[in-house]
């Protein structure tokens, strides 16, 4: 038989433990949240491309190479000297498309704004020389508007602007450095169609986001 004092002591210890763990989890979660400014989530991501700045700019100005790189993923239409319209398929499929307007501010700096898409977002990309001749740092700032609940669902489904940005930066790096983005879906396997679909979902999870 447990005495009243013991019961209260155990309850107290339980409350302290739960509160402590809860606070630690909350603190850790906060550390992983993007910054918020005036209702916008703001994230900064970067990737280092092993090419000089001019080489990276050349890649984006070589229309043929760019179209080949974007084939099946996005189309670019030039509106005037420094403005482009980009139309792209939602990365996770589902047939949704979004349109964005891209403005080249100066060599090595561009801005984009989504004009038609599921999530309001805008951003800025800057090319900076990497130290020690390591090529070019592509630094991106992304701002997007999304309710916390929708963001949580988006994160769970791998469908969130920050994840898409990190994917895009990794893709750009691969295209500039080696001209292709490796894909191992549809590599031979002994899987049934059902197992293959389940494996594709796992592949998607393992390919989504990552450190840009």
């Amino acid at each position: 038989m447990i005495g009243r004092a013991t019961r209260w002591t155990l309850l107290g210890a339980g409350v302290v433990a739960v509160t402590g763990v809860g606070r630690a989890v909350a603190r850790r979660r906060r550390r992983h949240q993007p910054e918020r400014q005036d209702g916008w989530y703001v994230v900064h991501r970067g990737v280092t491309v092993d090419r000089p700045r001019d080489g990276v700019i050349d890649f984006w100005t070589d229309r043929e190479r760019l179209d080949r790189a974007l084939a099946g993923w996005a189309t670019l239409e030039q509106l005037d000297g420094g403005r482009w319209r980009c139309e792209a398929a939602e990365r996770t499929g589902g047939g949704r498309r979004w349109r964005a307007e891209i403005t080249v501010e100066s060599p090595g700096v561009l801005r984009w704004r989504v004009t038609d898409g599921p999530v309001a977002q805008e951003g800025r990309v800057e090319l900076v020389d990497a130290p020690q001749g390591r090529g070019t740092e592509i630094r991106a700032e992304l701002r997007y508007r999304l309710g916390p609940v929708r963001r949580a669902f988006g994160l769970a489904a791998g469908d969130e602007p920050d994840l898409a940005l990190r994917d895009t930066l990794r893709r750009v790096k691969a295209l500039v450095e080696c001209g292709e983005v490796v894909d191992t879906r549809r590599d031979p396997s002994g899987r049934s169609p059902r197992q293959e679909r389940a494996t594709d979902k796992v592949r998607e999870k393992l390919a989504t986001g990552g450190r840009a």
């Binding site: 092993d50 292709e180 490796v182 002994g190 494996t199 393992l206 990552g210 450190r211």
Partner: protein, 391 residues
């Protein structure tokens, strides 16, 4: 085509699978002539690297004949007999350009797992689970090799398939292990593991100038092979206290360099090993660290410990105090295949290294399951099973 597939922990089967196709400009398709089992496959088969999916095609150490090339391939032609490095490298990132191919930035299309586990994602590896990119492996009639110009190398005439196949992985891994030791000439080098990689590391150390090479294992036939083929000294750890023996053999100094070519499923005797085994079986640690621990303890003060056995995650009882206070140099990594293969093929053609004897069990692909069983259980003196899918 037929391929050896992973069907669940400890389960393999030879199945019909679709043939690979050229998917990118730099791809080549290779008809596999020889594909070796490797000790690191056992970690995948036994579920210690938990990123396999049912139906994955195994195999990463292979050679064969180019049967199709992508439009961007310049260096290779259909009909070339090639050996392919198991590590996939794009050839265009900073790591590839500085010949650190196994750290390639662009060849793992599924980097999230390893980024979470290790902080960054190294290169993809053919047939080596979804943590290493989810590539189909080489225990099949055909395999797609991405970045063919970077990863496939023509085999010189006169070099047999069963020798050339080891230039794919065991030889470059062994060479890199010895290269890490920074040998200047005359050093004593101890090698843990008398499997394919260990024996190649021992031979590489000899070529790079080691004065004495001591190989440690528990399988008498492997130790006998190493002694006979390479002229190395041997220690049977099941019968001898390794640390005592090494101290005595080096008059108290300890080996100048210690190469660990065993990996996460290393064996030992005694209660501490039993404890490690239980912990690993219960998935409370991913790796058994027996041989690394011994290497660190045995190494002379200021010496080098070179680790090429494969480790996945977290370990306990890592003797960091010994490593720190003895001022050891620790070097480790997956091998940079593309850096070493051309040089190794030349040495192979010149007869300086002859790994053909490692292929103790050449078998047709249909016998793949038995081949792995022979290899894993070390039956019938099996050093390496080499599958011949085109036979």
């Amino acid at each position: 085509m037929r391929a050896l597939c992973w069907e669940g922990v400890g389960k393999l089967a030879v199945r019909d699978v679709p043939e690979p196709r050229i998917r990118a400009d730099g791809d080549v398709v290779v008809r596999v002539r020889a594909s070796s089992v490797c000790g690191s496959d056992l970690h995948l088969i036994n579920g210690y690297l938990p990123a396999m999916r049912e139906g994955d095609v195994l195999g990463h150490e292979f050679m064969g004949e180019v049967v199709e090339t992508g439009p961007g391939v310049r260096r290779l032609r259909v009909g070339d007999r090639v050996v392919v490095g198991s590590v996939v490298a794009c050839g265009g990132c900073w790591y590839c350009r500085t010949e650190q191919y196994s750290l390639c930035d662009n060849s793992n299309p599924q980097p999230v797992f390893t980024e979470k586990l290790w902080g960054h994602s190294p290169a993809g590896i053919l047939g080596y689970s979804h943590a290493a990119g989810g590539y189909a492996g080489s225990h099949a009639e055909y395999i797609r090799v991405p970045f063919g110009d970077v990863g496939a190398f023509r085999v010189p005439d006169g070099v047999s398939d069963d020798a050339a196949v080891f230039a794919s992985d065991a030889m470059p891994t062994g060479w890199m292990a010895a290269d890490f030791c920074g040998l200047k000439g005359g050093e004593v080098v101890a090698v843990w593991g008398a499997g394919g990689v260990g024996q190649m590391a021992a031979r590489s150390a000899q070529i790079l100038g080691a004065g004495r090479v001591i190989v440690i294992d528990r399988l008498p036939e492997r130790l006998a092979t190493a002694a006979a083929r390479l002229g190395v000294e041997t220690i049977d750890y099941a019968r001898t206290d390794v640390l005592e023996a090494l101290r005595e053999m080096t008059a108290g100094r300890g080996p100048d360099a210690c190469i660990e070519a065993v990996g996460m499923e290393s064996h030992d005797v005694g209660p501490s090993y039993a404890y490690d085994r239980v912990k690993q079986a219960a998935r409370l640690q991913t790796d058994r660290l027996v041989s690394v621990r011994q290497a660190i303890m045995a190494c002379r003060k200021g010496g080098t410990v070179s680790i090429v056995g494969v480790y996945a995650g977290l370990v306990d009882k890592f003797p960091l105090g010994a490593a720190m206070n003895k001022a050891l140099v620790l070097r480790m990594g997956q091998m940079h295949a593309q850096r070493y293969i051309p040089m190794l093929l030349e040495r192979l053609a010149g007869g300086e290294i002859d790994p053909g004897y490692l292929a103790t069990h050449p078998l047709p692909l249909e016998d793949g399951v038995r081949g792995y069983e022979l290899f894993e259980k070390k039956r019938d003196g099996c050093l390496r099973t080499v599958l011949h899918p085109s036979a």
